[in-house]
């Protein structure tokens, strides 16, 4: 038995997640000593930066991801052809919702946009920036050129958000069929997306089955556990959900997990909720005060739903929508305006969100509220009838994925 193959707890890695993480760690430690030395070896340095990025993404560690960016920047300055690293940087910026940065990189590296990966990223950027038609065209073009699982999944997400659940699920299933036994984590991710589709439709048993398959495909992944916890909460199993989230919090430094625990405790053990919520709020604020965009929508949600403070909610929602104007940020901004008694402006914002064509119970529910407050009863009735009754059950528990 190789003693070097142990995880941080001294135990042999057992789950697929642990094994992959250990492989990444090993590869990183092999490259680390020389990767950034003067007269950088472009191949090694690029691989090193890419591995760091993968590790940060896999572990859900935002701080690590921030650190990766400085490594990427260092390597960009040291190699002749930085296309791969610019693409890596653009992906990182996208992950952190810095859409302006993504656009800037793509503008300054036009050859990137000629690659299949660059075209897919451009379409993602369009989607997040509210250019839905361009995004769909981009996805369809990417699929026409190369029918890869990830592009099928991108289009599936677009279609899901626009309300065609059956077609979205069909595309996710087709994406799964493109994956091999060497891509089980990606398969698990697709199962999670299919589970979310079912969750939106309140088909909880079907969602559980997708999540079970995800765990079977790629065991030990906190992301799967996070989805299961959210599903349990949606079913009203608050204690079980909180227990799951606590387990995740031990492994993954994510403030949104802390917020989820706090919210669940609010429903059961109010006294235990406070420290979790405080921790989440502190981290969100630290991130925002550092100029990051990533947690702005979490902050707006936090002050709308978890610890209501309409003025603060509006501040963060406005800032978020300024950076990325899409149906999601517009709907949150609309609700924040409404909560601040600015019903007409709220109606404008929610109208903008709805004009995207999005089909979403939460957004419809918000729209019904706002339109009624603005005196547009016909519209309010129209959207109220599109919200299923079951939506009211545990609507106050909403977890970002």
């Amino acid at each position: 038995m190789d003693s070097g193959k142990r995880n941080g707890n001294g135990a042999m890695p057992e789950t697929d997640y642990e094994k992959e993480l250990e492989r990444l760690q090993t590869d990183i430690s092999v490259l680390a000593p020389d990767a950034l030395r003067p007269s950088v070896d472009a191949g090694r340095a690029t691989q090193y930066a890419s591995l760091l990025y993968q590790r940060a993404s896999l572990t859900g560690n935002l701080k690590s991801l921030r650190d990766v960016e400085s490594v990427i920047d260092e390597v960009i300055g040291a190699v002749n052809h930085a296309g791969d690293l610019l693409f890596l940087k653009a992906n990182l910026a996208f992950k952190l919702h810095r859409l302006d940065d993504v656009a800037t990189i793509l503008r300054h590296a036009p050859s990137l946009c000629e690659t299949p990966e660059g075209r897919a990223l451009r379409a993602d950027l369009d989607f997040q920036s509210g250019r839905y038609r361009e995004a769909r065209q981009g996805y369809e073009k990417a699929i026409a050129e190369n029918r890869t699982w990830d592009n099928l999944a991108r289009l599936a997400h677009w279609i899901f958000k626009m309300g065609d659940d059956a077609e979205a699920d069909r595309l996710y299933e087709e994406a799964e069929d493109e994956l091999t036994a060497k891509q089980m984590r990606s398969f698990a991710w697709l199962e999670l997306q299919r589970g979310l589709l079912d969750l939106e439709k309140h088909h909880h048993a079907a969602a559980h089955e997708h999540y079970r398959k995800a765990e079977l495909a790629y065991s030990g992944y906190w992301l799967v556990e996070q989805h299961v916890a959210a599903l349990l909460a949606a079913e009203g199993h608050f204690a079980k959900a909180a227990e799951r989230y606590c387990r995740i919090a031990e492994r993954v430094p994510k403030p949104e997990i802390h917020e989820a625990i706090g919210k669940l405790y609010q429903m059961q053990r109010q006294d235990e909720a406070e420290p979790w919520l405080k921790s989440a709020e502190t981290e969100y604020l630290e991130s925002a005060e550092a100029g990051e965009i990533h947690y702005l929508h979490h902050l707006a949600d936090f002050y709308l739903h978890t610890a209501p403070d309409p003025q603060r909610a509006l501040y963060w929602a406005e800032l978020d929508a300024k950076h990325r104007a899409n149906f999601s940020t517009q709907a949150v901004l609309a609700l924040a305006l409404y909560r601040n008694g600015r019903a007409e402006e709220a109606a404008e914002q929610i109208t903008a969100a709805l004009s995207s064509g999005v089909v979403d119970d939460h957004i419809f529910s918000t729209a019904a509220q706002i339109f009624r407050a603005a005196g547009w009863n016909d519209k309010a009735d129209r959207y109220a009838t599109r919200v299923p009754e079951s939506h009211g059950g545990h609507a106050h528990f909403h977890m970002h994925h």
Binding site: V79, D84, L86, K182, S186, Q193, A217
Partner: protein, 521 residues
Amino acid sequence: LADHNDPNAVNSIFSDIDVSAADLYDMFGFPSSDTEGGEKVVIALTFASVPKPGVLDPDILYRIQIAPDERVVWPAAHEPALDTLLGYFDALKHKYLGAFRPSEIRVKVDANNRASVRFLHFAGGNFSCELETNRVASMQSPGGHTIQAFVGGRDDAFFNDLPGFFRSINYAPQFYHVPHTMPEARELKIPKTLLELEGNDLFNYDPKFPDWGHGFKKDLPSGPLVWNGTRFKKDANGNYRFVYSGKDAQAGKNLNAIILEIPLAFLTNSPGKHRIVNVWGESWVLKAAHKVETIPDEPFWLEHPRALLDTVRLDDELKKYKLVDTDGQPFADAALSEREDNRQMGANNFWLAPHFIKRLAHLGWGFGPSISALGLKTSFDHDNSPVSVHKTYSTVAAAFPRVKKTLFQELRMPDDSWNKKGLPIPLRRPVEIFIPNVNAIDMDTTGTWPFGRRLEDQVATRFLAMFLDMSAEFNGKHYHVELLNDQTLWDVAPIEPKTPPNPLKNDREFLHHFPYLAEPW
């Protein structure tokens, strides 16, 4: 991190592909010299030794497809013409898209590295066996035929200066870190050549870095990745510099292999008539969705894998896998760019025929002038160009006149030893060899390439010989497929180093008995 529909949130953001057990290397095939009990054919499919030599990947299914057939004689009387060629491809298309159904052998291993070998649709019946890997095994068919099998690790039987070949086609990833976002910088737009080009600093041998291209890579230079010279490079003595070194880049390397020795009478009911055994290999990788099905919820299943396997109907089996790689002819990928994932067509590659003609013309503009510069005659019409040219074609009609002779000329053999029975067997032509992409083993020959492929064949150099004019003579003898392996030619050629392009023999002696490939290192 909010993933917000980011499918590749964790994956390497690039579509870089690691060495995989699905990477097929070679498809060997030749008549066995052991004819006791009847004729037999030896077939060896080799592939990457992943996870390690002697241990196969249980997620991969290997298929060896076999189609015995009559020997077809090319209508030699016809003047080579594009119409003839297109007619040939059309006939192939009808054959392979029609009722044609080859027999096949499927091989995979279980989690304990025990191999399952299944014979399907053979004249001698269907049957299956489970074998210990890394051991020679003898199997009995329902009809009493004895088949020898070996599944496991061996020495890499390919002996070749692969970096030399990549240098000849200016394949940058062998020499440089080529960013994934620069696919256009893979095969650079510099003339392909057998001789170094004057001023081609991007690829010419650099004595400061003897390991360059042999594991060591440079950072891709900034600036234009082109060559603006006008002639081949010559040293002070007037000698050209060979892009090849003659050294074996595969020395000391291992692979995994499926090796079989099969009676011809098991393959066909008409062994006297079906003298050609067409064979090609495929690798398939299990789809993720079906891997989940086989991941046990209960330990019971681990102990009884057969219980699961028995529930799988054969017809449905392939639906659970994805085709990754095919292998029939050596250098088919170079000739046809079949390394592209969407071109893994195997025997059904007739649709690549137009691409093959254009690609061959592209290669010819590189290799043809190189051959002429050495004082040899080439089959490629390059208008007496004094130096290699980078030229691509958009139409078959424009390319065809250039490659007509290369495509249709008979590839002469160095002597008659290949024709062991002295039968009137026509020599093969490149057009017949690469499309379809199968190893067509002629049972009345020794099976040396192109009449099959023997382990000792230096096929890389024979591939280059396609560009020689087989009607020309050297030292009073017609050119032949082995000419470029002849040291006496290089001794008098104005070139350094004075070596055949590729090594003449494998780093390990092959065995004279089954499984023929040498022991692993």
